[in-house]
Amino acid sequence: MFAELLQYLLSGLTIGAIYALAGLGFSIIYNASHVINFAQGEFIMIGGMASATLTASGVPLPLAILIGCGGAMLVGVLVAKFAVERARNASTVTLIIITIGASIFLRGVAELVWGKDFKRLDAFSGETPIQVLGASMQPQSLWVVGTAGVLIVAIGLFFARTLTGKAILATSHNRLAAQLVGIDVKRVVLASFALSAALGAVGGAVVAPITFSYTEMGIMLGLKGFTAAVLGGLGHGPGAVAGGLIVGIAEALGAGYISSAYKDAVAFVIILAVLLFMPNGLFGKRGTERV
């Protein structure tokens, strides 16, 4: 009984950590530019595919992850520079379509580069399951949760301590005021895209041994990340992390106790329920809208 529950919680925590990273990525970009980047899942895919194919051709794992990360950051900056920045004053719908276009485009490129098959990445430290109070756990799960934890703390420090982090925060509060005190708002947007691309890519690399990598892997991960971000309240970093964990754990519990076929539906049922009662998400601001 207890072991079973613990098992579900552990697997939920693992996948939830990836949703949390993706959700955090959505939040960072949303804060800097008020754009929901539907290509966030593609950053995850790039990280997973790059690390899987590079290690297969003999590149050491850390270097492979680093290259994947750099590649994703470059792609993020390009998307920001050539698509999002140019459509600065466009409507929400238009911006959504642009980033969806970017995600289709990136998936097309990825298919051309890597093909359509599943790619395998070996677990970072063996596959001998660890026994925890009767539940068993892949060592890779520890890598996933640990990496996500470290990254989340690092992002928190980045926003609290560094000048660039503070500039992003200032821009998210008031773009014009940020510009007036000399913040280069355009660079802030580019930096936020690069940062969330890096987050996504690392997430994709550490989760690859569990989920396998394929060019379509980013779609659901991205949508769940969006759910996590909205659940936590758009633009609320810790909220996105909490949202990701909630979605991941609820999904694992749903799959275990209700039906594995409806696993993917769980996240969306939760988000609908939350939005009905808390239209701004769990931690969103309750401010009034200015006319």
């Binding site: 949303y30 929901i36 050539f82 698509a83 140019r86 459509a87 466009a90 409507s91 929400t92 719908v93 238009t94 911006l95 959504i96 379509i97 642009i98 969806i100 276009g101 970017a102 995600s103 289709i104 485009f105 990136l106 998936r107 097309g108 490129v109 298919e111 051309l112 779609i219 949508l223 969006f226 759910t227 909205v230 758009l234 039906s259 076929a261 409806y262 993917d264 539906a265 969306f268 049922v269 988000i271 609908l272 939005l275 009905l276 239209p279 701004n280 998400g281 809208e289 006319v291």
Partner: protein, 315 residues
């Protein structure tokens, strides 16, 4: 072009004329088939445009309503032996009711939150269709009986072409009338500023719900007829990508332009057919076109072209 945008009757006549003479230029059933698919998409897009273009409310889940209509026809006619017309109406009524029930709480949401909620509904619908395989055939889909009315079976591309053509003209006519009615003015007021609209006495909630229900019902009817035409339906017709495709058609053709929605549907239905020449590059080209259109003509194709014409005349 301007007449297309502003003259209601001229536009309708032009559309009717194009539909009437088009078959003469289509060499075989393959092209007729694409025209029919474009027509079905256009019907959904005209409804979706009322919601997105006029009322300014996004929906990333309309393929779900299309799917419910399609499966209602497939299941009720095939498994339970209902007459197709009754099944179509039942599907539309169910979708209307569902849309009505979710509309009020959902439409309180704005921007990205509304996008998320509608996306959620669409995805849940497609997962249900995929999973309840006893009823729907699961991921493989299900066969659908032909459409019979008064003992006559609708059969073949030629017949379906005219069915879709008439439906499209009817839907466009309805949409144009609606936009010119007090309700249309109310919707545009909602789009401009919801608060201002309420201050001048527009019951914004009521109109938003109404247009959401209406656009969902359009999608359901198109879905039902499509199911009978295609003879086979799969959950892919109801999934997230189909929803995105529909929104893209509306936005590409031109928001707040009924004929723009039609043009968007036609162009983006044809495009993948044309792109099969590029095979491996299909997604890249499609994604690239989406981005480029939105970046360089955020108002969409038809309004952008229309804006060019008078400017040149004045110059």
């Amino acid at each position: 072009m301007n007449a297309l945008l502003h003259g209601r009757l001229t536009g309708l006549l032009a559309l009717g004329a194009v539909i009437a003479i088009l078959p003469a230029f289509l060499p075989n059933n393959f092209y007729l088939d694409i025209a029919i698919l474009a027509g079905f998409n256009a019907v959904v897009c005209v409804g979706l445009n009322l919601l997105i273009g006029y009322a300014g409310q996004i929906s990333l889940g309309h393929a779900g309503f299309f799917g419910i209509g399609a499966y209602a026809s497939g299941v009720l006619v095939g498994t339970y032996g209902w007459p197709p017309v009754v099944a179509l109406l039942a599907g539309a009524a169910f979708v209307g009711l569902l849309a009505f029930l979710v509309a009020k709480p959902i439409l309180r949401l704005k921007g990205h939150y509304l996008a998320m909620a509608t996306l959620g509904i669409g995805i849940i619908v497609s997962i249900v269709l995929r999973t309840e395989s006893g009823l729907t055939g699961g991921p493989d889909g299900m066969m659908v009986e032909p459409f019979r009315i008064f003992g006559v079976e609708l059969y073949g591309e030629k017949v379906w072409y005219w069915v879709v053509g008439v439906l499209l003209v009817g839907v466009v006519w309805l949409s144009l009338n609606l936009i010119d009615s007090p309700m249309g003015r109310a919707l545009r007021a909602v789009h401009g500023s919801e608060v201002a609209a309420e201050v001048v006495g527009v019951d914004t909630a009521r109109f938003k719900v109404l247009v959401f229900v209406l656009s969902a019902v359009f999608a359901s009817v198109a879905g039902s007829l499509f199911a009978h035409y295609a003879g086979l339906i799969t959950p892919a017709k109801a999934d997230f990508f189909k929803s995105i495709e529909l929104v893209t058609m509306v936005v590409f053709g031109g928001m707040a332009s009924t004929f723009g929605a039609v043009v968007g549907a036609v162009v983006l239905t044809l495009l993948p057919q044309a792109l099969t020449i590029f095979q491996d590059y299909q997604q890249i080209v499609l994604g690239g076109i989406l981005m480029a259109t939105m970046v360089f003509m955020p108002k969409g194709l038809l309004p952008t072209l229309a804006a060019l014409i008078p400017a040149r005349r004045r110059a």
